[in-house]
């Protein structure tokens, strides 16, 4: 079953086409990777899906319902959560408050505080941040800040999670832990659409990969197909 699909999705910044005529679809339960050189329009595409930016043209549908032109909070309530490439935590609030707030407002919006509290603690345990729950978010290390972003996204109870460069800046041990985290999240029944530059991670966890270059989708397929695709190699390595 298709959970997310885009049709001729286009975004112009002035005269620059950041995303041009991109079609895509993501099936329930998949892990789909989105790769491409810097400036390819990957984060812009995420911003269009999550409602952070309005589209110039085209349509995005979530569970066969049009979500283009909805505000981010409405899109979150439909069941799409995301993390940010440049971490956007509530820096002066505690780790617990970051997750608790997402749990209170997320999909349900009227969850009793006691239930939200319990779920937040469970999620902190899930990402391994229980010990730091009373620490201010800004005092966490980079890898823990990224974990907190994931926990905060999960707290809204999404069915689709957009991960924007979760593994950038992590060392190799941290990357393999993060890969495990991604697959565990999928095993909970959450579909994942992820932007990534760490090839090892992308090749190992993704069922399918989409490649963007200059705002245009140039390839799509399984990791094996992508690694042998001529256009992709040209874009990444030059001719």
């Amino acid at each position: 079953m298709r959970i997310l699909e885009g049709e001729n999705v286009t975004k112009y910044f002035g005269g620059l086409a950041a995303v041009h005529d991109v079609d895509f679809d993501i099936k329930q339960g998949e892990i789909v990777g989105l790769i491409g050189p810097n400036g390819a329009g990957k984060t812009t595409l995420f911003n269009l899906i999550s409602g952070a930016l309005p589209t110039t043209a085209g349509e995005i549908r979530y569970k066969d319902e049009k979500i283009t032109s909805l505000k981010p909070n409405k899109i979150c309530k439909r069941g799409i959560a995301r993390t940010f490439q440049l971490i956007k935590l509530f820096r002066n609030m505690t780790v617990f408050e970051n997750v608790f707030l997402a749990s209170l407002f997320g999909i349900s919006g009227d969850m009793p505080e006691s239930v939200a509290r319990e779920e937040s603690l469970e999620l902190l345990n899930f990402v391994g941040l229980s010990a730091a729950s009373e620490t201010a978010a800004k005092d966490l290390t980079l890898v823990n800040q990224k974990r907190l972003e994931v926990a905060r996204g999960l707290a809204t109870k999404p069915e689709l999670m957009l991960l924007d460069e979760l593994m950038a800046g992590l060392n190799s041990t941290e990357v393999s832990l993060a890969m495990d985290l991604v697959t565990t999240i999928r095993d909970k029944g959450i579909t994942i659409f992820m932007i990534e530059h760490v090839m090892k991670a992308i090749m190992n966890v993704c069922d399918r990969i989409m490649v963007l270059d200059h705002g245009v989708k140039i390839a799509e397929g399984t990791p094996e197909e992508i690694t042998t695709n001529k256009t992709v190699i040209e874009v990444y390595l030059g001719e």
Partner: protein, 309 residues
């Protein structure tokens, strides 16, 4: 240790609040009228600052529109004062300010930082000049007389508005919306992405804070007997709450309250004791406060508390 301290601190501060309110509400029985008038003046600033802090404290949107809401209350009082009973006039002052703030909020709350500050200041100046123009053009006279109310009534009405404002501020702060307002101040984009309706939450909170400013304006008008746009919409009512809240610190509810009270008393003492150097001394104290108390009185209290442990 930590939990033990929290347990005894809560009834303690509640007790202080309760005693304070009893003293304040019986005060006119045993002090001179001058003191009652002075305290009304202090309460006015406390309410405006506290209601300013309900919105601007957690969200960090610095509003300079307080004078607009206060002035609208003043004018409602001048227009309706002869026709309606006092409680209705005050409620109308609050309500019209509330509606105006909803409207202003919808236009301006999409702006951030400096743009928001300048826009709110512009809005309150725009309203002042529009009323000036309207008076000159249609009524032919600038300014109005206001029905006078005696000092004790003014004092008690202000006290009641203060208690309601404090209660509202407390309820908002400890609810999930209080936490959400803080998250808007921290990282608005992320707040929207976890399902918080940031625009409507900001607009409604902005309007609630305007309600109390309008109500205060409506009762304060009765003290002045004569008002005109320059008095009612004086930019001082926009700038003072900001200074007072910074002086007190916005992290806790008592910050803006004590900030405003101490500031207003200080102003009164300086004006009466040093009429020629008042502005100079006031400026020096303000600079010293910003240099040495970056987090206001709240920050100072926290520091002392930490040192004691």
């Amino acid at each position: 240790m930590e939990s033990a301290r929290v347990i005894y601190r809560k009834p303690f501060s509640l007790g202080i609040l309760f005693i304070g309110l009893i003293v304040l509400s019986t005060l006119p029985l045993y002090v001179q009228p001058y003191l009652v008038i002075l305290l009304s003046f202090v309460l006015m600033y406390v309410i405006i600052t506290l209601s300013w802090a309900i919105f601007s404290g957690p969200t960090r949107y610095i509003s300079l529109a307080s004078a607009a809401f206060f002035g609208i209350g003043v004018y409602i009082s001048a227009i309706l004062g002869e026709l309606w009973p006092l409680p209705l006039v005050i409620a109308a002052g609050g309500l019209i300010s509330f509606i105006l703030a909803l409207f202003i909020g919808l236009i301006t709350l999409r702006l951030r930082g400096m743009y928001f500050i300048i826009f709110t200041f512009g809005v309150s100046e725009l309203i002042r000049h529009s009323i000036l123009w309207w008076e000159a053009k249609f009524t032919g006279t600038v300014g109005r007389w206001v029905i006078v109310v005696d000092h004790t009534t003014v004092y008690f009405v202000l006290l009641i508005i203060f208690i309601i404002t404090l209660f509202a501020a407390y309820l908002i702060k400890r609810s999930k919306f209080g936490l959400a307002l803080r998250s808007i101040g921290e990282q608005e984009e992320a707040a929207a992405h976890i399902g918080i309706g940031v625009t409507s939450l900001k607009t409604i909170t902005f309007a609630i804070s305007a309600f109390f400013m309008g109500a205060t304006g409506a009762i304060m008008a009765t003290r002045w007997t004569y008002i005109d746009p320059a008095i009612a919409f004086s930019p001082l009512f926009s700038f003072m709450p900001v200074l007072m809240a910074i002086f007190g610190g916005v992290g806790q509810l008592y910050g803006p309250i004590f900030g405003a009270a101490i500031f207003a008393l200080l102003e009164e003492v300086l004006i009466t004791k040093f009429p020629y150097y008042y502005m100079l001394l006031f400026g020096i104290i303000l600079i010293a406060a910003i240099l040495f108390l970056p987090n206001g009185l709240v920050g100072l209290v926290d520091k002392i508390r930490k040192r004691r442990q």
